[in-house]
Symmetry: C2
Subunit: 373 residues, 2 copies
């Protein structure tokens, strides 16, 4: 296999942590096989314990990359980071590091391993991009208009400054542009009902920064949005801190699970309702298809010097394949360059006044802008 | 009508802001009528513009209380508070203020008016209870076990200290005990996936305070919960700051709305699916009944020296009647006394070490405990 120019990949090569997730190779390998069949121009680096990868030894457009350890789903971050230096997760991420000539073995990496470990190892191995303080986790949720809403951060950062939220908006915009092909995605700042309170000081200042970035032509800022706007599809992108984003995501998962349980219970109540279920089956199947979260599997870890995608730990082969698809689309559409270019352009374009505001966080942007200039 | 002993009401009297909400008297009056029919021992003070209340002039167990102004759904808090001093909202809340003998005209108040105005006016008129820094908004969500999960705060407080979260836990426990008759409701602290990060410093310290309160026998603390636990029904009560709670609530509303739209769309796709809908109608009705948020209408404003319940602004007569029911149950079960007694007992029982922790918030509890002692 030849090295690839990371700027315009004619062949896209993904590094896959085949050991991660609840099911490991029994799920990841079939997903890889299905993915390869559908993407004749893609190549995979399959990373894992050699024995576990043996079934894939003869697959075309694949190379097996051995690792001697596995990060388990409940390994603390410290264990993943300091003790398991030859884990399949870490070796997969290593494939994204450019060599002396600036060429990396793979353009993106996919793992279903535990989120905390993946973020920590990726951050340690790859470092953050110029102009980014903190990487964020972005994922998509379905919306009423039939499209998707991208939300970040979903849990990487508990406390975020206004500057972090601006960085999330820029990175998220680059993601939506790259993966969904929208030239100028709309950005919403997650806030709460205006009639109650207009948000914290951080949120208000984030609004100012986002308006300034929009005025400079860097992002397409819609304004504040509320939790329900995620599913309405009011904006392409919703930006929030990781605590709020994680609660919103988990709350939605909980409600979806409850509703599907209730539908099942009600349709299996008695012979008559079971008959109704039989007759309604095509409709229920279509409904299920439209709200199937497996289709949307694959969260992006944004802000790193490499494209890392996180699959849900419980993903089945179909879901894991979707995560591979998302990583593939991101790599093919040069997401890494887009994020890099857009964050630098945004910071350079921001008026000095945006940095001159009072408050402890204000220095961050100034420092980054100075660094970027 | 005779004055009532607020400690053991034999007759429960509610003050109703009949002008509030999107629909005003056309909704609130039929709801009041239905409520009165079902509660022969209840009395209502109907507050509003005299003309609007005319249809209720001859109703039994009712008294009309005139007000000359109405707080509109988009009136800023300042307008409601300073300019409309004879609004139906304010006059209704006034009914909760005890006279020189300690007797109030009503034991609870219900309004569908705008949340920010209602909270501000209620706080101004009634003041907060001893030991409470900030009132909170509590409401219930359905859960998978067929019961309800009470969540607070849902938007009254953007930034909360650990001490505030403790107060929410105590007030919420009193609410669940009073309204649902659970002697020792379980309390969960809303947090995010442990594998990512274990929450902010505030959340960690709140966990310590909640454990201390549990050790002192004041609350039944389960531990951290995540967003999905709200709908799983892992705990009776979920405590969080108002920003997070509001986002969780609105996110759930948005998802529920999207799912019902999709179900409708899929069942009305063609003649065959419409037939399936007809056959599945009893099942769909039961499903709708189980997830019908109107049943759960009526949020409690907790921590005030009076029981104020907030109906959803868009509530129909059925939903508004549920808010009346919740207020009635709370008054009948002496929620105000319960909150008062439990917060004082908790603060007095907390070990001094809980107050001695570092950090700016720690002084709060010490001051309150000193005040309460």
């Amino acid at each position: 296999m030849t090295s690839l120019d990371s700027r315009a990949p004619s062949v896209v090569r993904l590094a896959v942590d085949c050991m991660g997730g609840d099911h490991g190779p029994s799920t990841t390998l079939p997903a890889c096989q299905a993915f390869l069949e559908k993407h004749p121009e893609a190549e995979l680096l399959l990373v894992g314990l050699p024995d576990a990868l043996a079934p894939a030894a003869a697959w075309p457009r694949c190379r097996l990359v051995p690792a001697s350890e596995v990060v388990s789903m409940d390994d603390p971050v410290e264990v993943a980071l300091r003790r398991k230096k030859d884990s399949s997760m870490r070796v997969a991420i290593n494939q994204l590091k450019p060599d002396a000539n600036g060429h990396a073995a793979a353009q993106a990496c996919v793992s279903a391993g535990n989120t905390g470990a993946l973020m920590a190892v990726a951050r340690y191995v790859l470092k953050t991009l110029e102009g980014i303080d903190r990487p964020a986790i972005a994922s998509v949720m379905p919306n009423e208009s039939g499209g998707f809403t991208t939300v970040l951060d979903l849990g990487a950062n508990v406390d975020c400054s206004a500057e972090h939220l601006l960085q999330f908006a820029v990175m998220g915009s680059a993601l939506v542009a790259a993966v969904e092909g929208k030239a100028s995605p709309t950005v919403g700042l997650l806030n709460i009902g205006e009639e109650v309170i207009k948000g914290s000081e951080t949120i208000k200042r984030a609004g100012e920064l986002l308006r300034a970035a929009a005025a400079a032509g860097q992002i397409n800022f819609h304004g504040n949005v509320e939790g329900n706007d995620i599913f309405k599809g009011t904006t392409d992108l919703v930006v929030c801190d990781g605590f709020v984003g994680n609660v919103a995501l988990k709350t939605a998962e909980g409600l979806a699970s409850m509703i599907s349980t209730i539908i099942r219970q009600e349709f299996s109540r008695n012979p008559l309702t079971k008959l109704a279920a039989l007759l309604a089956l095509p409709v229920l199947k279509r409904f299920k298809g439209r709200v199937d979260h497996r289709r949307l599997n694959g969260a992006a870890l944004l802000g790193l010097r490499g494209l890392v995608f996180k699959s849900h730990g419980s993903a089945d082969a179909f879901a894991f394949e979707q995560a591979l698809n998302r990583a593939y689309d991101a790599a093919r559409n040069r997401l890494l360059d887009r994020v890099h270019d857009q964050i630098i352009a945004t910071l350079q374009s921001m008026p000095a006044s945006a940095d001159a505001a009072d408050g402890g966080d204000a220095g961050d942007t100034a420092a980054i802008a100075a660094h970027a200039a």
